[in-house]
């Protein structure tokens, strides 16, 4: 496996990928992607027990489902750099005839993707289904999922959250990206949700918090603790506090970069703040 410095180097490279991907097509979602970069890098390179290659059924390995599909740039970069498909293919993001659609899909057969997401609120149910199939298959591996905090405004999540505890889906670790922002502004302004922690706990989940969700060590420690909580009859929720736009000074502390690409000058500035580590695609 990797040491922290290697993961940090990869994180910086993934940031560069995200910025270059959305800049090239002048569309896509850099803000949430940058906020979840450390998490997905750590997940795919240190936390998950993955097989080489890709099989849709994912038997005998951990699985991950991205529910907030609009952060596809970080997902694609992490998948490519984990070996699921050629890194050069990041060049095709959002282009006609690409496997790297605006939102992730299985439709074009991109290795690493097991469900389409983009229309929000559906990934928790899917992850639960996959987790229950693992139990039926006597497969002791874990299902991970990632959700936006704003995404929790979708009602299907709460059907799923209620079900997961009722059915003791304890091989599921659902992470919520608490960046406090959504398209129209701060979540507290758009639709205040109160305590997400209290809500999950009231629904019977084990809830852990990672307060510095952009710190690799904090993520590794928090997720290791989360893994220890699996198998005890309750689903596990990780509340990951992140900074939208992390690593690019002008994209942080604002919701403005949720779904907007940088122009040429902004890209240059952003890349300067994240010098090449492993090599650009």
């Amino acid at each position: 496996m990797s040491n922290t410095q290697q993961l940090i180097d990869l994180t910086i490279q993934v940031r560069r990928d995200i910025l270059r991907m959305v800049h090239k097509v002048n569309s896509g979602h850099p803000g949430g992607s940058l906020g979840c970069t450390e998490f997905l890098v750590a997940l795919y390179n240190e936390i998950m027990d993955r097989k080489n290659g890709f099989e849709m059924d994912g038997i005998g390995e951990d699985l991950f489902f991205l529910s907030n599909g609009h952060i596809s740039p970080v997902f694609y970069s992490v998948l490519a750099r984990a070996g699921y498909f050629p890194i050069d293919e990041l060049n095709t993001f959002r282009l006609l005839n690409s496997r790297l659609q605006g939102h992730p899909t299985t439709h074009e057969g991109l290795p690493g993707v097991r469900i389409a997401s983009g229309s929000l609120g559906q990934g928790m149910s899917v992850a639960i289904g996959a987790a229950q199939t693992k139990k039926l298959n006597n497969d002791s591996h874990i299902v991970y999922s990632l959700h936006g905090d704003g995404e929790l405004q979708e009602g299907q999540n709460w059907e799923a959250i209620m079900y997961a505890s009722a059915k003791k889906v304890d091989n599921l670790i659902a992470t919520v990206d608490l960046n406090g922002k959504q398209i129209d502004g701060a979540t507290d302004d758009v639709l205040p949700m109160g305590s997400i922690k209290a809500k999950f706990e009231a629904f019977g989940w084990i809830v852990l918090e990672i307060e510095d969700g952009n710190n690799i060590d904090a993520i590794l420690k928090g997720m290791a603790e989360a893994k220890l909580e699996t198998g005890q009859g309750k689903p596990v929720c990780v509340l990951l506090t992140t900074m939208m736009g992390n690593g690019v000074d002008f994209m942080m502390h604002t919701h403005a970069w949720h779904g907007k690409a940088p122009n040429d000058d902004q890209l240059a500035s952003a890349l300067n703040q994240n010098p090449e580590t492993l090599g650009d695609y």
Binding site: D57, H107, S125, G129, A131, E159, A166
Partner: protein, 317 residues
């Protein structure tokens, strides 16, 4: 002309339940999910014999569709069960993204379709579900006609890899197709040979079409009745072969004419062989409370309506 009789009536949903029970014994990958309508969907036998493969999700259909999609990952074949209304319109986006677009092997099994669920009224009587489901790329849409065919279709769709919408109903209807028949997805069944008019029917309307053909025969009109149990993919060849002989067609379904079987048939005819067509279907309306027979009469879905439309379409030849 071949005539059809019956000795027993049963609901098509019971055919689904019987098929599901058989799948429980023969296919260990089949799992079932239900949103608080186990009794209505006749799923009890499967559940009794395979409790570990049944998932009660409560009144949460959106979650059920997502869970079903997820369960396919790892090789399970999920059958979801709820009313047609809650199997389609209520969860359209979940089906669209997590099942159809994702190409998941989920069987969406929908009972109480159409007007014949009766007294519950329009909130529960969906007449738009065939249209909703056939518009989804890759979705197979099946509406079998009686107990035996519903049982056979239930068993057959487990062997097909891909999303399927299986539509059936609540009322007892005559059993006139063979027990233990082999069900072939997308293959129409010609029930009677005729030369004057083709009647293409699906679901509960197949028996009504046969009843109509008996009356028409007494008036000297020979009707070719085709059971189109699969609306998508549609058996174009069967339709075109028949209208080549009869020169006119009536389509019959327990569904709005917008988006239903009739429109699918009209497209085939327009592209290949423009032919006079009449539609036995609901006329862009919601249903209402009443007995199934009263509703079928009031909304023009019974054999009398088919006879009337057959005469009209023959006059247009």
């Amino acid at each position: 002309m071949k005539t059809y009789t019956y000795t027993e009536k049963k609901d098509t949903r019971s055919g689904f339940g019987a098929g599901l029970a058989e799948l429980g014994r023969t296919n260990p990958n089949v799992v079932t999910l239900c949103a608080d309508l186990v009794g209505s969907l006749k799923m009890d036998q499967f559940i009794k014999e395979n409790p570990e493969r049944f998932f009660q999700v409560g009144i949460a259909e959106a979650n059920m569709m997502g869970i079903a999609a997820g369960m396919t990952i790892g090789g399970k074949i999920p059958f979801t069960g709820t009313f047609a209304n809650f199997s389609t319109g209520r969860v359209y986006d979940q089906i669209r993204q997590s099942i159809a677009y994702s190409g998941k092997n989920v069987k969406i099994c929908a009972s109480h379709a159409g007007l014949t669920l009766g007294e519950d009224g329009a909130t529960h009587q969906i007449l738009e579900d065939i249209g909703l489901m056939k518009m989804l790329p890759g979705m197979v849409v099946i509406n079998p006609c009686d107990y035996n065919q519903t049982k056979a279709a239930t068993i057959a769709i487990a062997e097909y890899n891909g999303p399927v919408y299986l539509r059936f109903g609540r009322p007892s209807v005559p059993i006139f197709t063979p027990a233990n028949q082999k069900f072939e997805i997308g293959k129409a069944i010609k029930l009677t040979e005729g030369k004057d008019v083709t009647i293409v029917a699906t679901g509960h309307l197949v028996w009504e079409a046969l009843e109509a053909s008996k009356v028409l025969l007494k008036k000297g009109i020979s009707a070719e009745v085709i059971n189109i149990h699969t609306i998508k993919p549609l058996d174009q060849d069967a339709i075109l072969e028949s209208v080549s002989k009869t020169g006119c067609i009536v389509t019959a379904e327990e569904h709005n004419y917008f988006g239903g079987l009739g429109e699918s048939v009209a497209r085939v005819l327009a592209l290949n062989k423009p032919t006079p067509q009449e539609f036995v279907a609901t006329n862009d309306t919601f249903g209402e409370s009443g007995t199934p027979a009263q509703l079928m009469e009031k909304y023009g879905l019974d054999s009398a309506a088919i006879i009337k439309k057959a005469k009209s379409v023959i006059a247009r030849k």
